[in-house]
Symmetry: C2
Subunit: 405 residues, 2 copies
């Protein structure tokens, strides 16, 4: 049996990444999407010498000469045009967010003042240059790049879009993804299964996993009939960029997926991976030379729930990130919380519960009852990736971690 | 000046948490919501003795007696009613996911067989009890609790809902939240600001931060006019469970929020916190004795962008989690990546960039230029919480971390 290693499988998948182009969306709908333009400052930030504490604006020269009592000339409010201090021995009350009044250069905050009869008295012996003034352009100069393209957009980026007036932002287009389950034993969530049937669940877990990437996938179910599979999959290949299958890829009499895909001209890039769960995983692509969208990508995961789940995380996610041109080299790791033994020469995706201990991420194994135990996923929150070349794993050793919460 | 410590402020906020009741949603729309019912197994899992490898089903007694060649009686497919092995010296081909045929108790996988002329020959010397059979009820028994209430729903839980036929699930109702910005210097994202104006951004960052909690907040902007503020806020108090303000809570001449709130009968629970950024933070509640919904909660954050951002994460999030009855005791921590000095006796929310090193989470400070530097948030991905009772923080020390990516 010729198994592809997990690393080799990942390499092949990453080399099959694709650019799906760019689209513009309203900035408020862009969270989780991948930015595809540099965001530049439309002006200096701050755009003016900005008051950063409520107090009085004075001319520091007067203070340095020993003056401590200042007549109040007026109030500089935030959102008002800049005032001018007419007499350098006077002051102007100035509010946080306001422009620093002309002919002043420092702010003395209210906490250090007594104000009486139109005069402010300063209780302070030393001042600093531009005290409580956030100088124009200190954070960013006009035309500076604030956000680089190829960034995953979060609330922090949303704030910058708003600040520079970016109502629409360019983001990576999402691939069109269809999730297909097969298997005559599967019935709908709303149905009452017979003794020998179970409800479909994998398509919904995968829909949810893809939603985390802001991909709105569609779903289909097909019975184990070779002719029906062929007709339907042929049409899916026309309509979608990526097909994710769950089931029918192993050695069973009705595991028609690999055969049907190859009949339809999909090139097998590997079948069977040196891993548990998910050994029968099949991956391929179809190249259309006559079209603009040149490649269709097919992930055919084994049907057992945990295999589909972890394979989607370990293979589809990196394919997606690479397609979006994201860097994912700094992958998280965790520390094994207790000794673990795993006999087969397979990479093992160990279900673990994570906890923090003094800045360390500790992964404690959750006893599973085989890869089909979907229920176990709700008791854990990640998979620790144990390599295939060893059987004994010691408490304290560090391994890559795939989280899903 | 009487500052409330960060821990005391958090304690007061958590004691103001509220139960917003329960609603039912379609299971597919429940990701990120808080489950409010125990999910129980509607039958045993697996619901039958389930074939877990493709191969032949035999009676182990025949094997133990030395028999290695078995006549094939038929095929047991997944999704078909259970077959019966008529002659205990024969076998039935059986597929993954199928019911184990009656009168058989083990599966020998295809990899260990030769099949010729209707006979399967086994190349194996030893068998295990129930080999390749996933026994009925092994994962969960009917009526077992699979998911406990008060769980944040992820893709893993979605799979379980589907499996047990839970089309609708009970989740915590979300609070109705309004985010209100104030400040005459603020203009819309689509406007061209004058020299002394800036665009509104805080309401959008807070909307995005609340979206992460699946809360769809609404937004408003009010100018710095005491009468207008009073009328509008009074009506907001009627219509929303929670008001989040940004701005107008400090010592400025136009910082009317605390005064207006108190005029409207909102009880101040604290004002000014021993922290940077966000010292002027004001928090209170209004109790309506005559109504069913008894309390309104008001977070009035300072207007500078980073203060609003980190205060939302550090105060609103825990209030929300506590209101949802979630446990958040195992808060993440990170290790300071270099020595850091911070003079004021304030808790400091240090902007950091996170990286993994051998299972440790390392937080490296990002040089900021004051709390108003929104642009800086895009270069970092978390805040390290440095306590207020020290000024020197050494590389290698561990502190709580607040992540936002």
């Amino acid at each position: 049996m010729d198994l592809t290693t997990v690393n080799k499988a990942l390499e092949i998948i990453i080399n099959s990444s694709e650019d799906f182009g760019i689209e513009e969306v309203n900035f408020l709908n862009s969270v989780g999407r991948i930015l595809k333009e540099d965001i530049v400052a439309d002006r200096d930030f701050p755009p003016f010498d900005r008051v950063s504490m409520d107090g009085i604006a004075i001319c520091s020269e007067s203070f340095e000469k020993g003056q401590r009592k200042f007549k109040i000339e007026g109030i500089q409010a935030a959102g008002s045009p800049q005032l001018t201090l007419l007499n350098s021995e006077n002051c102007i009350e100035a509010m946080t967010g306001a422009m620093l009044p002309k002919n002043t250069d420092i702010i003395i905050q209210y906490e250090l003042l007594t104000i009486e009869n139109g005069f402010a008295t300063v209780h302070l012996e030393e001042i600093k240059e531009f005290q409580n003034v956030h100088l124009k352009g200190l954070d960013r100069k006009k035309e500076d790049i604030i956000i680089n393209k190829d960034t995953i957009i979060t609330a922090a980026e949303i704030g910058v879009f708003a600040t520079v007036g970016k109502l629409k932002v360019k983001v990576a287009k999402q691939p069109k993804v269809l999730i297909v389950s097969t298997g005559n034993e599967l019935v709908g969530v709303n149905e009452n299964p017979e003794d020998y049937q179970i409800r479909r669940s994998n398509v919904y877990t995968v829909v949810s996993l893809l939603e985390k990437l802001q991909i709105k996938a569609e779903t289909e179910h097909i019975l184990d009939n070779k002719e029906v599979l062929k007709i339907k999959i042929n049409s899916f290949l026309n309509d979608y960029d990526v097909l994710l299958f769950s089931g029918a890829v192993s050695k069973g009499k009705f595991d028609f997926i690999p055969e049907v895909l190859e009949d339809l001209g999909v090139e097998k890039l590997f079948h069977q991976v040196k891993q548990r769960p998910g050994k029968p995983f099949w991956f391929g692509k179809k190249v259309y030379t006559e079209r603009s969208r040149s490649e269709k990508i097919i992930f055919a995961f084994p049907g057992n729930p945990v295999a589909t789940f972890v394979n989607c995380l370990n293979y589809f996610y990196p394919w997606y990130y690479k397609s979006m041109n994201l860097d994912f080299t700094n992958r998280p790791q965790a520390i094994l919380g207790e000794d673990y033994f795993f006999k087969p020469d397979l990479t093992y995706f160990l279900q673990v519960k994570l906890s923090y201990n003094e800045g360390k991420l500790i992964a404690n194994p959750i006893a599973g009852k085989g890869s089909a135990d979907l229920a176990n996923l709700v008791d854990s929150d990640a998979f620790l990736v144990l390599p295939d070349d060893r059987n004994e794993f010691k408490k304290g050793e560090v391994f890559p971690i795939i989280t899903y919460r």
